[in-house]
Symmetry: C2
């Protein structure tokens, strides 16, 4: 049961983004195409999950195996998924486990990887980052999430709005809410009470048929999808707020002595820059 795995054996969690197959990274496409097996979570053996659907479009011809996760038997489902992975690892396979969004942010992958490592401690486990739903929602809704030194709180609302309410206590921070579709009407009430409804946007089924990207104020009449995403921009963004330009280390053209590892000094910033608001 504990035979050493092949040097090439690996479990790779691959983020496939929120829905649009064009949001896969080049690295994700390469890893999926190079894998011996591609595994995707599914709610039933005959149900094409969202991650599988993305792979089918982004990497035509790649066969995807379904790992069934029964939400009423989560622990057993993770065990069964780990069984399938361990079988492949023992056979020396490179396994790509595809997952919505990013594999290190709210992903089933981390549970499966942990279970596999318990059984085969030497297993090589890697991840490939993926675009997260809030990033695509920001793009689709023309929402600047963060500027300068603004802060972000990323919370969930699966069981209610308490984490959201806590995050709203600070009006200067942006808030992103995941998994709150069921509680969208209550979320809208919280936002209204905090004076934060203006500018707040909701997206569901991003990149899929039936996609909806709307102001939260226009979607408060009922529940949205389980994986709905909400962005609440900071309020009180100041015109003339100090701007931190994101210039990065010039490479090669202006070497500085001793800078190979640490890069150049912090770049100073100067004049004030109005906030982006035109046309929003």
């Amino acid at each position: 049961m504990t035979q050493p795995s092949s040097p090439s054996a690996a479990l790779i969690g691959v983020g496939v983004g929120p829905g649009d197959p064009e949001l896969l990274t080049v690295r994700a496409v390469r890893v999926i195409r190079g894998a011996d097996r591609v595994l995707a979570p599914s709610s039933a053996v005959d149900a094409v999950g969202r991650a599988e659907s993305i792979v089918r479009q982004a990497c035509p011809g790649v066969r995807v195996e379904r790992l069934v996760f029964d939400m009423g038997e989560a622990s057993g489902s993770v065990d069964a998924a780990a069984d399938s992975v361990v079988e492949g690892i023992d056979a020396g396979q490179r396994l790509a486990f595809v997952t919505l969004g990013d594999p290190n942010v709210y992903s089933t992958f981390s549970s499966v990887a942990a279970r596999v490592r318990e059984r085969r401690p030497g297993t090589v486990v890697e991840t490939v980052p993926g675009i997260m739903a809030f990033q695509e929602l920001a793009s689709r809704s023309d929402t600047v999430v963060l500027q300068n030194t603004e802060r972000l709180a990323l919370v969930t609302a699966l069981e209610g709005t308490s984490a959201l309410e806590g995050a709203l206590d600070d009006p200067s921070q942006a808030v992103v809410v995941y998994k709150g579709g069921r509680h969208l009407p209550e979320m809208a009430k919280c936002l209204a009470a905090a004076g934060r409804l203006d500018g707040a946007v909701m997206g569901e089924l991003l990149g899929l048929p039936g996609e909806r990207v709307v102001p939260v104020a226009d979607a408060a009449e009922g529940p949205a999808a389980y994986l709905a995403t909400v962005i609440v921009p900071p309020c009180g963004r100041q015109v003339g707020e100090r701007s931190e330009l994101d210039l990065s280390e010039p490479e090669g053209s202006r070497p500085r002595a001793g800078d190979a590892v640490r890069g150049p000094e912090v770049l100073g910033v100067g004049d004030e820059v109005p906030r982006p608001q035109a046309g929003r």
Copy 2:
């Protein structure tokens, strides 16, 4: 000065990720290759910035124009960049403005886009999401950032550790710190004082020559690069914590009446799942 722009004219902020050219999305590559002009921020006309370097590798043959941002004259630099963009918009061009990470998260792009919209209110402005540095750091350092209903605080430390200290007040939330390279030693002290040094990781120059991914405890002796990233995982992750599997809406195979827009009901979750911790 206010001539109507061509219907094809557009300014598109394209996130190119933190450094590895393989982290561009398929959409980003398409938009860059299809643009009439590709613009990249730079600190000098003869300095190849990080975003330009990424594009040179990911899209060989594409010519990149530098927009010089003088950190001592930020507002004037944004004006000059907007001048260049407006000239292209007036000529009916599709302009890709490439930016590290994501164009809606701490990006110069939003300042430039706002200035362009002030001058040409009808300008079509779009963005293409990009992988953020903390996602690549999580991948490289094998760090699960968020599980279940954990929360994330994303803060900056350009001017000191006060935002970090505030975020550490809640031991159950993960913290990501951007732009804190200069203050890394003080950050390490804060983390140690809060009992959060264990598991905290730092990455700089991700995907570039001289990349460093290390525990914060091993990097506390001096400043890191301006764009260094730190991840502080939540403490007190419980074995047996309730798990939310990220199963998504099955598509096509199991249609439900009236579900085209809102998707299926929230999926229930059941048994407890141990946290991923083996081998970390």
